[in-house]
Symmetry: none
Subunit: 251 residues, 2 copies
Amino acid sequence: DTLTQGQYDTVYNFLSLVIASQLFTAVFLVIAMPRILPRYRQAITVAIVVCGIAAYHYFRIFDSFKEAFVSDAAGGAGVYTQAVGASFNEGYRYVDWLLTVPLLLLELIAILALARKVQTSLLLRLLPAAALMIILGYPGEMSDDNMVRGIFGLLSTIPFLYILFVLFTQLTKSLASQPASVRRTLSQLRFLILLSWGVYPIAFLLPILNIEGSDAWVAMQVGYSVADILAKAVYALIIFYVARMKSYDDD
Amino acid sequence: DTLTQGQYDTVYNFLSLVIASQLFTAVFLVIAMPRILPRYRQAITVAIVVCGIAAYHYFRIFDSFKEAFVSDAAGGAGVYTQAVGASFNEGYRYVDWLLTVPLLLLELIAILALARKVQTSLLLRLLPAAALMIILGYPGEMSDDNMVRGIFGLLSTIPFLYILFVLFTQLTKSLASQPASVRRTLSQLRFLILLSWGVYPIAFLLPILNIEGSDAWVAMQVGYSVADILAKAVYALIIFYVARMKSYDDD
Ligand SMILES: CC1=C(/C=C/C(C)=C/C=C/C(C)=C/C=O)C(C)(C)CCC1
Ligand SMILES: CC1=C(/C=C/C(C)=C/C=C/C(C)=C/C=O)C(C)(C)CCC1
């Protein structure tokens, strides 16, 4: 596949935007953590680790992209073709998600500060489903065959729907026990999750639709990038806000 | 030997997964350490160092892998062959283990917080055996001769079994003196050790069995990688959990 310079620049700058968003969300949280009561620091610590992992992987994705597409025109103008002996490694995203998706769920459950038994039961249901969802998506993503992509995408959708179901039924139930000051925010957070997580399967599907090759690929990269900013960095900042409100309330 | 693109991607992404797991487990522990009582910080400090050493070696292993296998097809598609003048250095793993295996045992003994005399006696038995196990395995791993591989593998198994024997008899005995809140976790930790440490000799054996060349090698890399995540990162997180529970109890 080849990319026009416009396509190349678009992907390049979106990847760069993700690096900056994740890295400095993590930095912000490290600096701001002392303002949170110790009992809510577990959630913030997990958020820092998630954004850190994402920043790390986006550095790698960025380098992989720069190596994989090359132009032989002066000033990098013209068309970018695939380099000899280097491929863009989409696998980094799955390695990232395998670690961060379970952690994002953990982050949410930590901030809710539910009874220990409810916590354990939620984690035992959500974490394995999250890992399964990512592991099943991987062979589909790495395959050049749209048939294989479709089948594994479908399989991966089963744990995906299960996670959304558990989140919406169980968390909706737990909203009642949350302090009034954060109930509304937590309720909206469910929709941020739905909105951002929903982008992934759609972006995954793009290469299957019969859009002109590179356009689909570029749209997929942009989709994954925007979703990663919403699902990790924006999400972390909302969790931080909830942690601060709860810290005031308890004080 | 040659690798298909699928095999290359598999090893590549597993190595990358190990880097991220070890690095961010270390980061997590650094951030979370203040929540642990000082008397249990020794174990966490050792865990941070272990995960840090592992992350460092996996960066090196990853680079060594990328240098050792090359493709001359556009987009890195097609077959990867061994590069001219560069070999994959399996030795990094042994350098890593020589340092981390004794430290892992130290980590365990630190978290148990046994009487000083019992501690010293355990360390004097376990640490030299651990070093011996790794040193004896090294010549087997570096040799192309399956005979040599087998002999040193067998010699290395003697201290391996001794370590497992000491761990299971002595630690089982010490469980009785542990606080009730962590007894179950510590008991399960023995099985995590058995399970994860048991992968190494099996992965080591794979090249001897007469599986088609590269498949055995790929399976060995994946085996070592998964075992390293379990034996260091997951292990560290369990030790952290025990340290937190003990900190609550003592508080
Ligand atoms: C359903 C589905 C998928 C879902 C992926 C999701 C939901 C990923 C979420 C990632 C997050 C939240 C990352 C982090 O911050 C895949 C694997 C694309 C494969 C196709 C089917
Ligand atoms: C018995 C045996 C081995 C055992 C290796 C082990 C048990 C390694 C453990 C490593 C750990 C725990 C690393 C760290 O995290 C070797 C050397 C492969 C050689 C073959 C025989």
